[in-house]
C-alpha cells in the first residue's frame, strides 16, 4: 500500500488524506475486522 502511494505520488501531485470517511454521500466507519457504510445524512436531507 505504502509503495503504491509512493508510485502515485512520483507520477502525479497528490495529498494523502488518510482513511476515507465519506464518499458520494455514503459514510464509512471502520473498526478492526469490519467496515460499515451508512447514509444517515442523505436520508435526513431527503426527509426535510
Amino acid at each position: 500500500m505504502e509503495e503504491m502511494k509512493k508510485d502515485i505520488h512520483t507520477e502525479w501531485e497528490t495529498t494523502d488524506m488518510g482513511e476515507p470517511t465519506k464518499i458520494v454521500g455514503i459514510e464509512i466507519t471502520q473498526s478492526p475486522g469490519q467496515i460499515s457504510i451508512s447514509q444517515g445524512k442523505s436520508i435526513e436531507n431527503i426527509l426535510k
Partner: protein, 244 residues
C-alpha cells in the same frame, strides 16, 4: 417494512390529476439513488412505486410516505461487512422471481449477492417477457443472477482472490434446479429460449452451482415482493443491514 403487503397497489383509476407528480418524481429520483448505494431492502418498494410516476393516485403518495417513514426509522442503519479470519473469500447469491405482485402480469426478478456478511450487489426489476410459469420466471431470474455472478467472479479473480470453487446461487424452487442441472429434454422446457440455457453450460463447466434453500431463508424475497414485518427484518439482517 417499506410497503404494506396487505395493501394492493393499483394503477390510478381516475387518470392523471397532475398536481403532486413533480414532487413525487423528485423524491423517487433521490430514493433511487440511495437504494442503489446501501438500501437493498427498499429497492423493491421504490421500483414498484416508480412505475406509477406518470399516473399517480393518493394511494401511491401514501405508500411513498410510508417508505419515508421506514427510512426515518432506519436512518442509523447501514451495511456492515465483517471479516471472518481464515474464511475463503467468496460470495453467495440468492435469486427469486415473484408472480402476482404486479398489475401487468409481468414478474419481478430479484437477486442479491452477499459477501463477508453484507450485500454487495442487488437488483429488483420487472421481467421484460411474460413467463407462463413461475419455474420459467425463476429460470430467467437465475440467468440474470448468473450473469452478475460471472462478472463478480471475474472481478474477484482480477483483484487476486482466485475463485476455484463454483460460485453458489441459492434457489427455493426444486423444479428449476432440475431444469438447470439436467439437460434432459423436458416437455415443459422446450419453449424456453436457448440463450437462457447458458446457465447449464456454466454449471457443467464447474463455475456455478445451484443449491436449494428453504423459502424462509430466501433473502431475495425482499427484492421481489412486499413482505410482512418479521420476514422483512430477517432478510434485511441477512443482507447485513444493521444499526451502525
Amino acid at each position: 417494512m417499506p410497503l404494506d403487503p396487505n395493501i394492493k397497489i393499483e394503477p390510478n383509476p381516475d387518470g392523471n390529476e397532475g398536481n403532486w407528480s413533480n414532487m413525487y418524481a423528485q423524491l423517487i429520483d433521490k430514493l433511487q439513488f440511495i437504494m442503489n448505494s446501501i438500501w437493498p431492502d427498499i429497492t423493491y418498494a421504490i421500483n414498484r412505486l416508480a412505475s406509477y410516476t406518470a399516473n399517480l393516485s393518493i394511494q401511491h403518495q401514501t405508500a411513498l410516505k410510508r417508505v419515508l417513514q421506514y427510512l426515518s426509522g432506519t436512518k442509523t442503519y447501514g451495511i456492515t461487512y465483517k471479516n471472518i479470519p481464515g474464511s475463503h473469500i467468496s460470495f453467495l447469491g440468492y435469486t427469486n422471481a415473484a408472480y402476482k405482485n404486479r398489475d401487468d402480469n409481468k414478474l419481478t426478478t430479484g437477486y442479491v449477492f452477499i459477501a463477508v456478511e453484507g450485500a454487495i450487489t442487488w437488483r429488483s426489476s420487472r421481467q421484460s417477457m411474460t413467463a407462463e410459469s413461475s419455474t420459467k420466471a425463476k429460470y430467467i431470474a437465475l440467468w440474470e443472477a448468473g450473469k452478475e455472478a460471472s462478472w463478480l467472479r471475474n472481478l474477484y479473480n482480477e483483484l487476486g482472490f482466485t475463485q476455484k470453487e463454483p460460485m453458489v446461487i441459492m434457489q427455493d424452487n426444486t423444479g428449476m434446479v432440475a431444469i438447470a442441472k439436467n439437460p434432459m429434454f423436458h416437455k415443459y422446457t422446450k419453449h424456453i429460449n436457448s440463450h437462457f440455457h447458458w446457465i447449464r453450460e456454466k454449471i457443467q463447466d464447474g463455475q456455478l452451482d445451484i443449491e436449494i434453500c428453504c423459502t424462509d431463508k430466501q433473502t431475495a424475497d425482499a427484492l421481489t415482493k412486499s413482505l410482512a414485518c418479521p420476514k422483512h427484518d430477517k432478510h434485511s439482517k441477512a443482507m447485513g443491514l444493521l444499526p451502525v
